[in-house]
Symmetry: C2
Subunit: 162 residues, 2 copies
């Protein structure tokens, strides 16, 4: 058993899970603040030089876990470790945010997809990308392609209807 304590909280425009954009093609651009406890402020020294940060946080409103489930971005079920489902054995969330500016122990960021008040466990600098030509996105890429095909068929049917 490993015990963790929040180092701070997320200030977010989202107060209900239903407000958070989900599903295929979602781009998170919401503005928010990562508000660290004042005791940890020294740990932010030199963080301003990084454009993007990893935020590790707690899905503190998720209950239990589900090993296989259907995510909002697909109509088919997938294993929890192949999705971003909140219902995980250890309910840790991971978000890459863009750091806009720092004010003491408050980091103003964009790309927030957490709820207001979410407990933050850790921050890390985002250092490097996976080479684009090596990145494969499994069922998510397939779900996107399926949607593009379905939309094309829909468009063709609508043209025939005219």
């Amino acid at each position: 058993m490993i015990s963790m304590e929040p180092i701070g909280r997320v200030r977010s425009p989202y107060t209900e899970p239903s407000q958070i954009p989900k599903g295929l093609g979602t781009v998170h651009q919401a503005l928010g603040v990562i508000e660290l406890l004042p005791a940890y402020e020294a740990g932010l020294t030199d963080i301003e030089g990084f454009s993007h940060l990893y935020v590790l946080w707690v899905f503190d409103r998720a209950v239990g876990f589900e090993l296989v489930g259907t995510p909002p971005s697909d109509t088919r079920p997938h294993g929890v470790f192949a999705t971003r489902s909140p219902r995980r054995p250890n309910p840790i969330g991971l978000t890459v945010v863009r750091l806009l500016r720092r004010e003491g122990c408050r980091l103003h960021v964009s790309g927030v997809d957490m709820l207001e008040g979410t407990a933050v466990l850790d921050l890390k600098p985002y250092l490097s990308n996976v080479p684009d030509d090596e990145l494969r996105r499994g069922w998510l890429a397939e779900a996107e392609e399926r949607r593009v095909r379905e939309e094309a068929i829909g468009d063709a049917n609508r043209r025939e209807d005219r």
Copy 2:
């Protein structure tokens, strides 16, 4: 207080921290296995389609934390949240590995930088990169530039010595 339990262990060629490559320009290519507890195997359904995974794990041999410290990749101190230091308030490690193949609840991966037996907390699919032209790498980029300059001066001095 949030309690977590390992979902599995890392099988790694590294048994001592000193064996893990560190510092500027390090590329992690070591082969290893993420060995999930059999109870969680269903959670890996469809994971094979992803080329890269996030592994969240525990720095289980780190003791305490240090808010400001000098990382192996620089001669200057930085805040813990601007580094990958193991001595963090919540000792969570984050590694992007390349998934080579799956055998039941064993994921064969490359890019391991954890010690043998490290507790794993979560796995997530790596879905997207930060646009290259938006990525800034703060003190790490500066440390790299400084080293390149110092090496250039060293080379020039050696030429003058001849």
